[in-house]
Symmetry: C2
Amino acid sequence: MEKQKEGKRNASVENEALGEKAMFACGSQSIKFPVPVFIRESACVVGKKEGEGPLGELFDVVGEDDLFGCNTWEEAESSLQRDALHLAVQKAGLHTTDIRYMFAGDLLGQGIATSFGLSQFDKPLFGLYGACSTCGLSLSLGAMTICGGFAEYVACVTSSHFASAEKEFRFPLGYGNQRPLSATWTVTGSGAFVLSNSGEEAKAAITGITPGKIVDFGLKDSMNMGACMAPAAADTVYQNLKDFGRRPEDYDRIITGDLGKVGQRALLDLLLERDVDIAKQHMDCGIEIYDGEKQDTHAGGSGCGCSAVVLSAYVLQKIAEGTWKRVLFVPTGALLSKTSFNEGQNVPGIAHGVVLEHL
Amino acid sequence: MEKQKEGKRNASVENEALGEKAMFACGSQSIKFPVPVFIRESACVVGKKEGEGPLGELFDVVGEDDLFGCNTWEEAESSLQRDALHLAVQKAGLHTTDIRYMFAGDLLGQGIATSFGLSQFDKPLFGLYGACSTCGLSLSLGAMTICGGFAEYVACVTSSHFASAEKEFRFPLGYGNQRPLSATWTVTGSGAFVLSNSGEEAKAAITGITPGKIVDFGLKDSMNMGACMAPAAADTVYQNLKDFGRRPEDYDRIITGDLGKVGQRALLDLLLERDVDIAKQHMDCGIEIYDGEKQDTHAGGSGCGCSAVVLSAYVLQKIAEGTWKRVLFVPTGALLSKTSFNEGQNVPGIAHGVVLEHL
């Protein structure tokens, strides 16, 4: 610490450094918040198919038509973000002017669903890209911002849309391409979360995070993204347990974003190889959101919107009512683009862990 | 800080809020760091054309061939990020294992230059997208992370590549399309910065930030991005001066990212309309990096890499030696994709301000 105090400065820089080094770093990769950050409210808007799934009754708004009154799929996705955030702010009893910063992203190239969805809020935007892990990324950075004393309220918003994602990553819907059983179905939906430094009327607390690394097992199949993402999910879950000194049973649920059925098996196997058994705690938002057999969604749901809407509609409810006391929420992302795929690159994964607790 | 240490938990959550509300919020949009965060070191790698420009002698590494020994433009861009970060860490006298988190992004769809460039560092990644403003975005979040006590060292990395950007936003080079004089030339380069909570041997201090809003003046010309971004730059500069209670002359330089000559004029005019004259302080990285007439780069340089490499090679040097005591660094981004452009959407802008000071 002595060395930190040496520096000389000009007038406006105070001649003093941070009191302690990375006080809130936890283990090699995680952060333990000294006081919790609160998820005050959330809201979600989903498409027709999601409304017909097993969680259909829980979503705040279900669209009748996936264009949501817009002219293009991309505009429709923007409207999802706009509507979800407006609703979350309203449910929180706040005004949009109360939000200091927005942390948001989506799956589209250059994040256009976010840029065009959130511009009218007239608030500073931290644009993010973490593929389908973006919900975890936004909650992590939002919580760090609140905990650091930089804002009183921030908004974390993510979205995906089946039609815009198919066009972005695979083929436009009109092409009618076939999908193997390992493929997932991109969720049409957006979840918005209002984070606050006050626990008053909050739904859950964020007590820690485990930001994820890029994990590349050399897989290349963009039609089996669950398998591509499972190694990253395993890495983040393992690291979270290690950093916080916890066992799987210290969590009521360990919830991944969109591994689907194929990825779930890979995740459980990979962790078992490291002597960690999360079979009892594991749940996957992609598996929960659709009835795979009836809805022909194959391995499950995917997309930034998948974990965001399931967190908003289902997981937060379970935590708020106390059914689950502590949850590890781990949205999972596959890091590819049409270009990287066509150039023969691997599909690495990334997963960001967020510890959510009952108040 | 006392309050942060008290805490009782239900099981583990302290049902108590942060001692003070957003202590370090400054004005309506900015953050004033209670103690500065330091840019300990930086490094930059650029392409052949950048090496031939007026700042050529200052860059750490100049490539002989813009493929940098890779098979594709995208891989070449990834290699720029990898090399810049390795070099920055080495120049800082650190090891890559000292870096706790990486904040990085690029212009390509789904940020693939970043994903494939930084995976081997095996550190948690916060993936960002702010178009050409991403350098400001990464420095802002990195500084918040250090100041919040969440890490001792973080890395902030951004890149762009002329050939991968032309392919991503306009046409592959082989198409040989014509460029109007208002167009800018995407810089091939990457800048990497190592941020620290210790001022020892540091090059500059980050004392505050002004995260930017999306500003949309309804412009649609992707061949005149300077004009599209100027309103956002004007908004961020104006807000920074207001939030910190400063006048333009309180800065030795106000440095935008890549407005180019057309955007510079728009910026100065827009601020004059609000009675702010920054003509004496203004500098634009896009104008500095090329000799527009000799190098046929039209309005100037652009891309995430533009502001990053000029900051690393030139601006930080001026601050370190004390020629400039305080600088407002404002990377500027145009929020469009090929899809949004083809669908007739506007090209909104965003600009993130970072206050840099001499130690």
